[in-house]
Symmetry: C6
């Protein structure tokens, strides 16, 4: 695998949140590498309230890590 | 995406809690960008006890991050 | 919304635990503002073992945040 | 409610783990105060693998908090 | 209960991971003390993908605590 | 069990993420040591959206631990 995650540092919280979403997707990609299968599964979660909430939970967990890595962007406001 | 999250700093814990709710919703919006679909799903979770508890879990996770970013608002009381 | 959460500081761990429960409920209230609906849902979770465990998980997550905010009440014993 | 949680400090990790279990139960008790209902629900989770795993998750979350409060009992061994 | 958890300190991350698994099991044992029932439930989770993932989540949570207690074994490599 | 986890230190966040995936799998392996059973279960989660999200949650939890162990690779960028 290429070095797709060279750093956890981002310029803004917004970019940190985007990175948290990316991490969530990369874990799924690692478990199910077949893009065709992932595409087929998409409606199963994108149109299901509980699945969307579960995705939101994973993003929240990853965002905590990225926020810590950026000292919570305390200099930004 | 615009810079919707310029900072994690809030004036009070109450505002921090509001921001935690916003983060939870933005992760869902990112996975399901179609507002019509999200509106259609709303009764699935807003009238389901387990879904509401799951939402509450996501908010709790995001609130932990925001509280840390604000040094737990230790100066407030 | 009024400033219902002016501080995370509490005098004792017991009061901190009570606050953790309150945070868990406020997130649900925010998602389902209709008190009548929330009352109708109550038996769905208050008489269901898995729902009660899930509530307990949310409280545990919020209690971690409040305990950190109070430096774990290290002066109390 | 009486001051049932005067401190998070315990003498040993073993006692801290016991306290984590107590916290998990107190959150359930707070949501379902009726002891008769809780007793009736007991077989629903005590004889269900997924429920037991979920209880274990709550205990793990509370144990993290208590361990932090005790500086992970670094002096013990 | 005997003092089964005298310390969170382990010599290596590998041993810390083993301890995380032990903590996960002890919480279940505390909720369901009857070994015969636990044995009967074993196939319910050991042959179910979602249950195994849930166990893995509990272990991850406990491992975070143990890793923190050992300062992440920073001296080891 | 051999010393399969000698350190939590990795050179890059990418390698840390790989290690988080490994930890997630090792917990499952510990609960279900039979490789034939694990292989048989694979389609149950690799082709199920909710299971994949749950795996992603476990990886996120383990990644938080590994990121902390590496001081969030703050020197990298």
């Amino acid at each position: 695998m290429d070095n797709w995650l060279p750093t956890l540092t981002t310029a803004t919280p917004t970019e940190g949140f985007e990175l948290a979403i990316k991490l969530s997707r990369m874990a799924i990609k690692s478990t199910q590498p077949d893009a065709a299968v992932r595409d087929r599964l998409r409606p199963d979660y994108a149109e299901d309230a509980d699945s969307l909430i579960a995705v939101s939970q994973v993003v929240a967990t990853n965002f905590a890590t990225i926020a810590a890595a950026n000292d919570h962007w305390r200099g930004s406001r």
